[in-house]
Amino acid sequence: MSVLVAGRRAVPRKYVPVLVTACLFAAMFAAGGLRYDSFATGQVVLNVFIDNAFLLVVAVGMTFVILTGGIDLSVGAVVALSTMISASLVTDQGWPSPAVIPLVLAIGAALGWAMGCIIHYFEIQPFIVTLAGMFLARGLCYTIGTDSISITDETYTALAQARVDLPGGMSVSPSVVIALVVVLVAAYVLHYTRLGRNVYATGGSEQSALLMGLPVARTKIAVYTISGFCSALGGVLLSLYMLSGYGLHAVGMELDAIAAVVIGGTLLTGGSGYLLGTVLGVLVLGLIQTIISFEGTLSSWWTKIFIGLLLLVFILLQRLISVRRRT
């Protein structure tokens, strides 16, 4: 029985975790709306997108990596490096932004590519290679400078302050649009191209994928390149969000990205999961943050405990509901 009958419609079992996550997200949002005034508005959800566009992009890259059964710890540092390079080139060197952005994206992708090559050809665990990558990228940030650098470039500020208006008096930032485009492209790649299917196959069993004649080397290197590219793009979005470059930006973002991917139902062992889950994972993390700021009276430590508790409740429900429905 590969199909689960829910009510009248049949939902393929593989979609159940994502569905459960989506429902729980909606429930959480509704609960927030009941508890706080001016919470249950569309703009609050949009703000979650606005505030997490960069995380979303980074998490998309991370999804590719995790689907192959790898992990990329360097993303946060690459994000920081991208902000730092952007800021120093634009502000200190006076480069035009149309030249800077492609350069930054290329640097991110190149870093990812290099890590992918080391992981694949020297058969070293991704954890350790990308950890070294993280040290490297952060270290490079500090060699550029230890202070934060403001970005005053016109293109950047214009982009940062632009708003795309939506009906109902709501608006989103251009970053959100970029992030959503990235999500759509990535979803298309994962589900409708050979590369995407090779990603799933490699994650299911690298050995089998190899014996089935799939280009495992290319796939593995590609996912780290994609992740590096996404991190760099996330860095560009973050520099739009913050209008600054700083070596301490995005500390610990790798954990947020991994958490978002895993909350979205992707297995860390690879081969199973959906991009929609990742989007939901990012939204859940963002919503938790929003709830915290609406709560407004939590002391510093209760903030942490509360985040942990919300996460726990969410994961528990997600798990229990999925299991219940399966048996």
Partner: protein, 503 residues
């Protein structure tokens, strides 16, 4: 036969793994339009020869010619590109993907780079239909039994109209019907001029399908023959290097009927897996289960071992009702279960032969009572020599063993527990003739010693030879229970399976 210009020629192939010389100076040729059987004991080097050919392993020495041109493949994908399509011994598919994808991944129909899922599924269903299979191709492969997965792997390989098709033990867990279907497809491909390399330990199958055979022993070439020119007994002699006297002779003593009932299952069942069945196993009795692919044999075994929870019914052991919620609970009642799915449910690949072998015994004793090293060595040595596990090195990692030898270790793991009921699901899968006889003898003698055995095999002769009683399954229902008297033959069994009648 016209002038034999080999499509594939391998010369002086040598391959050494750390500590093991797997191949030394092997010559091999494959002609177009023939089915060529590669024969040899477990660990003779058959799979290694195939892996070396298709670029999975590097070669230490020797050269390969394909279509008269020297080639070295960097990996399976290069071999595929060059027209060599392979089904490796262990089913090497991605169980997380759907059946359709497993068949077509890498060759999905596309338009402008976009995979056309509808066409992919239809094409996969067509290919399976060629093998007379009708299953849900969008379900994940993990939903299917190893036998079914093997069929999927074959469908994948057959689809590539390659110049060379390699099948490494494709039939090890297929039933007669599936084998016949596979052979029909193979004959058709052969007529199209495709060269087929075929590995199997079933001599009957080899004689049925192959035109020529090459025999390996201990990584060396023994000889090459036309199949028609070499008798079975001679073949076995060449494979094992000596005469095997009593291959066919195996007669278990008839069961003294008055033994106690050991396990009684009443209306035991599990929704979606197997319908409620009633089955009694007596001490010292060998009960066989026969049925087609997916008929539910494995499910019965799993329920009796507590690997799955029974939804309905009850179970009695020694007349006392018990509930087996975990395998561990079953082991406490001294029930043992050797799974058909060696790779997913048996091997711990990173552990050594010794550790794999004593694992169940250690689990039964608990972590605080380690088995003394001397005792371990004794047990391991005993079973390595009893089952002729090769290489006879207890500290070798089990993933480096050949498939058949891995299977022997799995068996040994349960034999050392000296269980009261031993459930064997396809225990002789991938095991060579000599060892198979050895294992059958072992089962018979253990049952003489009072151990009950539940024996599942796709090979009806084997079931028939060993069992006192045979349960027949069809569509996940236990439809008949037949006493194994002189009237029972494989034909009768086949008929029962086909008609689904209760005898």
């Amino acid at each position: 036969m016209t002038a034999p210009v080999p499509i594939l020629r391998m010369r002086g192939i040598s391959k050494e793994f750390p500590g093991v010389k797997a191949l030394s100076g092997v010559d091999f040729r494959l002609l177009p339009g023939e089915v060529h059987a590669l024969m040899g004991e477990n660990g003779a080097g058959k799979s290694t020869l195939i892996k070396v050919l298709t670029g999975v392993h590097d070669i230490d020495a020797g050269e390969i010619e394909l279509g008269g041109r020297k080639v070295v493949f960097a990996g399976p994908s290069a071999a595929q590109q060059a027209g060599i399509s392979t089904v490796y011994q262990e089913v090497n598919l991605c169980t997380n993907l759907s059946v359709a994808e497993n068949i077509l991944i890498g060759r999905e129909p596309r338009r402008l780079g976009r995979i056309q899922w509808g066409r992919t599924r239809r094409r996969a269903a067509e290919l399976l239909a060629r093998l007379e299979l009708d299953i849900d191709v969008s379900a994940p492969l993990s939903a299917y039994s190893p036998a079914m997965q093997q069929m999927v792997a074959i469908a994948r390989a057959v689809d590539v109209s390659a110049r060379v098709l390699i099948l490494d033990e494709p039939t090890s867990s297929l039933d007669t019907g599936e084998v016949a279907q596979l052979f029909r497809v193979m004959r058709k491909l052969k007529e199209e001029g495709i060269a087929i390399l075929f590995v199997s330990h079933f001599l009957d199958q080899v004689y049925e399908i192959s035109d020529r055979m090459t025999i390996l022993r201990n990584g060396r070439l023994v000889s090459e023959h036309l199949t028609g020119e070499l008798g079975q007994v001679e073949l076995v002699g060449k494979m094992i290097g000596r005469e095997l006297a009593d291959l066919e002779k195996l007669e278990g003593k008839p069961l003294a009927r008055e033994t106690e009932a050991l396990v009684e299952a009443e209306d035991l069942g599990r929704a979606g897996a197997v319908e409620p069945f009633t089955l009694t196993i007596h001490e010292g009795e060998v009960v066989g289960l026969a049925g087609l692919l997916g008929s539910g044999r494995t499910e019965i075994a799993r329920l009796l071992f507590g690997a799955d929870h029974a939804g309905t019914g009850s179970l009695k052991i020694d007349g006392r009702p018990v509930s087996l919620r975990t395998p561990r609970a079953a082991m406490n009642h001294r029930i043992a279960f050797c799974s058909e799915n060696r790779r997913a449910e048996g091997l711990i690949p990173d552990l050594t032969v010794r550790e794999n072998l004593i694992l169940a015994l250690q689990a039964a004793r608990g972590w605080s009572r380690p088995i003394p090293r001397r005792k371990q060595d004794e047990l391991v040595d005993k079973y390595i020599s009893a089952l002729k596990i090769n290489p006879a090195d207890p500290e070798q990692l089990i993933r480096n063993l050949s498939g058949g030898n891995q299977q022997k270790v799995m068996l040994a793991r349960w034999l050392i527990l000296e269980p009261r009921l031993l459930i064997l699901d396809e225990p002789t899968r991938g095991i060579d003739v000599g060892a198979k006889a050895e294992i059958q003898r072992l089962v018979a003698s253990l049952s003489d010693g009072g151990m009950a055995v539940l024996f599942i095999s796709a090979e009806l002769e084997e079931v028939l030879r060993l069992s006192h009683k045979i349960g027949v399954l069809r569509d996940r229902r236990l439809v008949a229970e037949l006493d194994n008297d002189d009237d029972l033959t494989t034909d009768v069994l086949m008929e029962t399976i086909a008609s689904g009648a209760r005898a």
